[in-house]
Symmetry: C2
Subunit: 599 residues, 2 copies
Amino acid sequence: MNDELIHPKELPFQLYEVLDTESLIQRERFSEHNRETFDAILETANKIATQKFATHNAIADADEPKFDGKNVHMIPQVKEAFDAYNEAGFMAGRYDFDEGGMQLPETIMMATSGYFMAANPSTAGYPFLTVAAANVIGNFASEELKQQFMPRMLSGEFTGTMALTEPHAGSSLADIRTTAIKNEDGNYRLKGSKLYISAGEHQLSNNIVHLVLAKIQGAPAGVKGISLFVVPKYRLDETGEVGQRNDVALAGLIHKMGYRGTTSTALSFGENGDCHGYLIGEPHQGLKYMFLMMNEARIGVGFGAAMIGYRGYQYSLAYAKDRTQGRIPPNNSPADPATEIINHGDVKRMLLAQKAYVEGAMSLCLYASRLVDDTKTRESAEERRMSEELLDLLTPVVKAWPSEFGVKANDLAIQVLGGAGYTREYPVEQCWRDNRLNPIHEGTNGIQALDLLTRKLWQANGAGLEILQKRILADFSQASGPECLALVNKTQGYMVKMQALLPSLGVALRSEKLPNLLANAQCFMNVFSSIVMSWIWIRQANVAEKALAQCEPADKPYYLGKIQAAKYYVNWELPLVNRDISLLESSDDSCSDMQPEWF
Amino acid sequence: MNDELIHPKELPFQLYEVLDTESLIQRERFSEHNRETFDAILETANKIATQKFATHNAIADADEPKFDGKNVHMIPQVKEAFDAYNEAGFMAGRYDFDEGGMQLPETIMMATSGYFMAANPSTAGYPFLTVAAANVIGNFASEELKQQFMPRMLSGEFTGTMALTEPHAGSSLADIRTTAIKNEDGNYRLKGSKLYISAGEHQLSNNIVHLVLAKIQGAPAGVKGISLFVVPKYRLDETGEVGQRNDVALAGLIHKMGYRGTTSTALSFGENGDCHGYLIGEPHQGLKYMFLMMNEARIGVGFGAAMIGYRGYQYSLAYAKDRTQGRIPPNNSPADPATEIINHGDVKRMLLAQKAYVEGAMSLCLYASRLVDDTKTRESAEERRMSEELLDLLTPVVKAWPSEFGVKANDLAIQVLGGAGYTREYPVEQCWRDNRLNPIHEGTNGIQALDLLTRKLWQANGAGLEILQKRILADFSQASGPECLALVNKTQGYMVKMQALLPSLGVALRSEKLPNLLANAQCFMNVFSSIVMSWIWIRQANVAEKALAQCEPADKPYYLGKIQAAKYYVNWELPLVNRDISLLESSDDSCSDMQPEWF
């Protein structure tokens, strides 16, 4: 069977044909790069992911990390993969040349991460979390902290975590109880418990740098009183070398359904009153710092979900091309040979749905990564601001839609394999279990729906939505082929309906209908995200329909598949939101009226 | 937290208020029973399920059966539970008093099985498969075979399996290759391999009675040449006692994602040329015998899926009433205490959707069980025939809908728990993994959709559909309260739309549009099953709305919950089929046109 992690045409199509990533080399920051350097880094990622990551994905699932009361042990292949990733320089890929980085666009780095997520999301978790933590330090910490920790995180000598959640406070960070008291030495002593901290303990690195949300004694209540601290597992000595053990203890490992290779930990800070923490930036600004990085972290979650979905899709596709079963009319007498199951209509449907979900999700996340590049490297401040507004608006969709539909895609992959799909002898069940984390972490999908409906939609007087609509219409105006024009026409009808909803939603947010609206937040997410995904698919179909007129015959099937997936999405998925539009229009109270004692 | 397996009002409501199960005691066969004997057996089931089954559900999942090359070993609690089930007489519950049975209605026996499926579906698999196999022998085998095997299966001394699937033939039984050659002794020698045979090997019983599909040498090709054999693990000696080992070997255990406590086996028949098999009934009629029992087996799958869904619902409900997190406007300042998460609109939505799915699925399956009783014990032949037609039509929905929505319910249960739901420290992830088998086995849901659209709908000139429509309208005419009348009105609109579709579907089945229609079979399943489920919910809401006028105040919340769940179903789920209706109307070709090389 096919063992390519990603179809060889897919990333070049997304990056160069749809997103015109090559144009980034016109920008000062990327001017040393060209298509060849981009392709080289992608090829290196593919190679390392295939040779070092994919090879132990199932092994790490079956033999998860164990805590012997003192140390956490895991299979050695994780460390080998982690080292290979670091040696190739991926950790610092986004950073400046003079920081030892490769000064690559976010779009390219996100694409490279696709290989690792498809190959082995659990092992990929260690470097990815480290990069995310390093980014926070790089953006907001003092020069001293930066110099102490960042270079060693970017080399992979140190790893990082994000320690937000507490046992009683998951979605509601306002309620965290970890405290920080200022010490005579100018630093802080922390005390508290954190839960579900990914990569919170392991032996992969010489040190683990926890970014910890805590409240400084006397801070304001709620989110306005949260500060952010660097809390290393080992303190650094005067020479900057790894020194004394800090008062951070592993209380236990959490045993997850999937994503088993990434340790999930309960951590105790300051059990012995000696947990040193170093404030990042200003007091009480911790949540802001975290959230400024959150857009990027959430693209990572969405893209990871897309890639786990993609892996299941590729596997079930190869299986369906190989496995024979049953017959298709008119050749359905027992004497006829059995057909490959890909020829059965219902199997086609399940494969096409997967394609629409996972390639759509990939495309969306790469679009968002491009926006990250644009917020940093577009020439004018106005263009950078507009990129930010649009990215802010899209972020809840970028996190929630791929994670919802990635799991659905994996569910369909299991169904295509039938009984085989339900066994641990085939990889698709692991994909499904691994992917199920994504609708939960980095803000549950329910939180994303609320964020979209109650905040992002109205932010800066609805500037994000206005920019989005302009971009959609600009892309739609590029459609010229009959297939795309039909899809554009259908999607525009839904855009009109959504637009018509907005005034009443705005009023409801400030009226006694608020509870109804909050209970129906997912409906608005469905409407908004389905329109966004139709646009994302039409962008791909536009490119494909134009390419068909001039491409090599060998390339035609690929482009025809893109158009067909776009048709599937707009004809099969988008119309489902008529239900949501009706419920929002009528301010439906089926959910909000339900009383706890009626269950 | 709540540790009731099933809400104490739920089964009495379904059995006595909705289905009027008490009226069955008017029938000759059940005349020795009354409400008290029914309740006593339900209470016994609840007790054994709670004390013997639920207690090792997670343990059996974490410590699955192992094969040492000679025997299969499993935790001892499985055998204790199996024995307790047998000692209480459940295995023979449906059978005549003079066969040692309890002569109980199928409806009551199905309800008892609900406790075991909610408590521990894997351990419940062993007795349930035995009963299913015993039923086939009881209905179709010779007196001699019956006497040899049935009593000992009904006492639990022997267990049973259904050995249909082969490595190359899952959905397509026409292609099985296991052969049977008649021997001088008048019996057969079998040779072949079977795969995914549940309970195919274990140490729970003195013998395992495999019902094996095989082709007698020289038989016609395809399904017309399939015969059914009794193939015991141990042959019986002349005195009828367990004798020599038969030539049936365990080739290996299959390792599943869930349902781990039930062994799934690869079996080799006749590796040494000495596998004795005893023909059931006539040659070449094997598939017919299997399928005559299939309606009942498929209700069991549907009900099991409903009950695993129900268990996750109950757990997530108890969690949501207990766990505090965040605040609800207007009490959302940090100084306000955190609220139980059940008060958040989106959590209400996820709980109400689960309720609608799992209580709807329970109600549907109990309705189908009542039809089984009716096919056997209604007075007139005409009434029995009509019950059969209706049951035949509903069976694909009874199998597919609960298994699809049971998994969705478990997915929502995980989401309600958030991070906790993703860990193996909480039971909902196991529910999700266990339930994922149900859309696959006993005919995949894709096969069910084809069965409905291409066969059941048209069977006997559409008699089943006609009976269904009459029953629906009769139930709708009972609606008098304003809530139910509104739901009836909405549902009738969809019934009209479905009716309008039928002529063109009938034509398409015999035209060049057949491939489009087959690729869209799931769309028709969606339309049909959503109308059926709306009806099933309106039946419950009707009873509830009437009961509200006269019930004790303490019972009101329960009935209000039923009405609200019916509203949710009809307002939120039913309208989704407008999409499917449009696709069927336009004979949409998005899926059927997709070519294998375009993926």
